[in-house]
Amino acid sequence: MKNWFMLALVGQDRVGIVAQITDALYRGGCNLGEASMLRLGTSFTMMMMVNTQLDENTLISVIQPTAEKLGLHLHLDQIEGELHPHPEPDVKIVVHGADRAGIVAQVTGELANAGLNILDLETGVGGSDKKPFYFMQIEGNATQGMEALQLALEKLKETLQGNIDINLSPLETFDL
């Protein structure tokens, strides 16, 4: 399980990006681990763990022609790869309100101080151009316990004076 890379590709979305990139990797003798691929705005973003015997430069030469053809920017890092530790989130935080700059920084700043380790965060902007609203959902680990996060949120709510809704709830995994 050695020789892992984190490969990131970003570019204008179009049909066939996943198929063509993964085909190039497969033909180059690479194996994929965990991956996150999604459209953000009009861009398509891919991050994947790639396991290969190739060195960094050879791996780039395997992907580059396809990436260029598709207009994707490429970023590659060698990493300490491990497939198996999957930390399970034990807390969920949902935030929404009228959109303005600084919500993410403010909320995650307080939560980080209270021990939140974020595992998954997604945000979106909805509403109309004149009245946009902001939505954020976070899953993570409360490394200092739920109470610390609860206190941090109380403090945040005072600072934000009711302009943003923030809800914290425990997440449980049912081992069945």
């Binding site: 999604l38 399970e88 049912f174 081992d175 069945l176």
Partner: protein, 169 residues
């Protein structure tokens, strides 16, 4: 006696199970081994016969050890179970003894009605909710060759799908 748990991607986990016809000493011995195996597991709250390679419609569920669960029926031996009614839905993360080191979000009914036979072939009727209802739905899926992997929901959009606007006639 502890039984060996089949783990994914063992293709036998996809096999549908058949109705139990014979309620005898052999069945009761099996149930005792199945329960022992369940209680030794990480969750220890549910198991289905096909998980140990016996393809019969049998499950055991006992969520009473779970600290937050208030409503439950204690130890349940469910033979030839049928869910007759579903109500409400909720997303929660599930794990399974047959799918080690992986968990995922699954939608389940929050309230169910259920009939099943016990080890003496008596037909029982249950109404259950919450964790117990989730555990039963998860175990009964095994009887149809389904894993929670077959029911994973998208982390993004499943709950928020827009209603399709219907054109006025």
């Amino acid at each position: 006696m502890m039984l060996e748990i089949l783990t994914y991607p063992d293709p036998r986990l996809k096999e549908p199970s058949t109705t139990v016809e014979t309620f005898d000493e052999e069945l009761r011995n099996f149930l005792s081994n199945l329960e022992e195996t369940m209680r030794a597991g990480p969750g220890g709250v549910g198991i289905a016969a096909p998980q140990v390679g016996r393809f019969q419609r049998i499950a055991i569920v006992d969520v009473s050890s779970h600290k937050k669960v208030t409503k439950h029926h204690g130890r349940l031996v469910l033979i030839n179970p049928e869910i007759t009614d579903w109500d409400g839905f909720e997303i929660a993360r599930e794990g399974c003894m047959s799918v080690p080191d992986y968990t995922g979000n699954v939608i389940r009914a929050t309230h169910i009605k259920l009939t099943a036979q016990n080890e003496n072939a008596e037909i029982k009727y249950f109404e259950m909710e919450g964790y117990e209802a989730r555990a039963v739905q998860h175990e009964l899926d095994h009887l149809d060759g389904l894993l929670f992997l077959d029911r994973l929901v998208s982390r993004r959009h499943d709950l928020f799908q827009r209603k399709t606007h219907q054109k006025k006639k």
